[in-house]
Every structure is written in C-alpha cells, then in structure tokens.
Amino acid sequence: MPKTAMVKIEPKDYKKDDLIKVNTVIMHPMDTGLVKDKESGKYIAAYHITDVEVYYGNERITTMKLSGSVSANPFISFYVKATKTAPLKIVWKDNKGDVTEKVIDINVG
C-alpha cells in the first residue's frame, strides 16, 4: 500500500542551471525493531524505509539507503541542478516491499 508523501521545491522561480532544493517527506512509522510490545513482550518487527531513489528524466541521480535510525515520517532534503525540462521522480521503498512514488515537473522553459 503506497504511503502518503509530499515533495516541495524551493525556490519556486528558477532558471536553467539553478540549484533547486527538494524537500521530501513520507508518512512512515520507521519501526526500528528494538521496541518491545507491552502485551506480548515480543519485539515490534522492524518496518522502515530502506531505499529512496531520485530520477531526473531517465537518469537516476541520487540513491539513498536508510536504516531504522532515521526518524519516523522521514524528512529528507537535497539539491538538484535544473539542467533540463523533465519530471523529477522520487521513489521510496520499505522493507515490506511497499513502493511509493511522487513525481513533480522541473520546467526550465
């Protein structure tokens, strides 16, 4: 089941070859696997985002590996250089096989 995710860029007005800051956030519990369930005394299984991939056009420009030590609802920001008009796609994958995708358009006119 895909999760809720948001992508925002700043600044809103940019020209070709400008640096754009991409702020992303996804709603995910990011269970570390270290928390004990009070009733059963067992551990709540690890459940977290493992991979974040960023595609600009057809090219994969950034690959991230995450562990459970990243906070719940992980917020990540990074930069992209606006070299061309193309979609910017961010893909989140978690350790249960869920894939969430979000696409925004980079338009340099």
């Binding site: 369930d37 551990y43 299984a45 590996k65 030590s69 990243v70 917020f75 930069y79 250089k81």
Partner: protein, 159 residues
C-alpha cells in the same frame, strides 16, 4: 442547546474518539518478532563504508546538528561538503552508539549540483554524529559532532 445537552454531546464525541483509535490500531496491526534486528557497531559500519581505509578529519565537511537535542527521536542533521559536486561520490551519516550505527548513505551524482543532504535521525543516548564524505578519488573525509540527548530511550520504550 443547554448545558446538559452540551455535556452529553461531548461525552459521545470522546467515546467516538476512543472507538476510532481502537479501529485504527486494528487496521495498522503491527507484526511481532522474537528478536531485534542484528546489531551493527560503529567500527563495523565504518569498515563496511571505507573497506578499512583511513578517514581523515576535514573542515570541508560541514556537519550541522544541535549541541543539545531535547528529543532523541527527532534530531535534525545537515551535511554539506564544500567541494565541487564532481568530487563527491557519497555522503554517509553515522551515529556511533546506536544499535545500528549506519544511519543513512546517500550516493550523489553531478546532477545534484551540490553535495548536500538534510534529514532527521534518532539517537538512543548522547553520542557522536559522524558525517563521512566519499570522494571521487577513493579517499574519505569526515566531520563529527557530539550531541547531548536529554530524552533518549523514550522512543524505545514508548515509540
């Protein structure tokens, strides 16, 4: 509406809320495991990243993290490498006393324009946050900063 009706309404709303939350926990039922995931120490994580190479301290790596974090569950960390993006292959964020010290690894390309990453991490207790930059020539540079955590394991006990 008189006072009695208002109170009745409020009581109903509260019971509705509790009913709703019990439904929520049913939908998001958590899986249980007998054992926690394997431990990865700082030394192991470092070896995994560098393959045993030495990592030099460098002021080219700018690590921004709070000196005192009130809540260990959400510690903002920003890493910027003040080198041309062509020279930076990856940025790694480590937390040296966490169960899994290797927190995040980011592989960058020149299309990023700037060697920068910002996120929020968890710290189980007061420890060093380490940012390692992997350079295109195969060398590694790092910066580290001690972060004091006032409420640490809270997120382990009561997530």
């Amino acid at each position: 509406m008189n006072r009695r009706e208002l109170l009745k309404g409020a009581a109903l709303a509260v019971s509705g809320l509790t009913f709703g939350s019990s439904l929520l926990t049913d939908v998001f039922a958590v899986e249980l495991a007998d054992a926690p995931p394997p431990k990865k120490s700082y030394e192991e994580a470092l070896k995994e990243i560098t393959g045993g190479k030495t990592v030099a301290d460098s002021d080219k790596v700018k690590l921004i993290a709070p000196e005192i974090a009130e809540n260990g569950a959400v510690v903002p960390v920003t890493v910027e490498v003040e080198l041309p993006i062509e020279q930076v292959k990856a940025i790694h964020i480590l937390a040296d006393k966490n169960h899994n010290a290797r927190t995040m690894s980011v592989e960058l390309t020149p299309a990023n324009g700037k060697a920068y990453i910002s996120t929020r991490i968890r710290l189980a207790e007061s420890m060093n946050v380490v940012a390692i930059a992997q350079l295109a020539d195969g060398s590694f540079i790092k910066a580290q900063k001690p972060v004091k955590v006032t409420i640490g394991r809270m997120w382990i006990i009561n997530n």
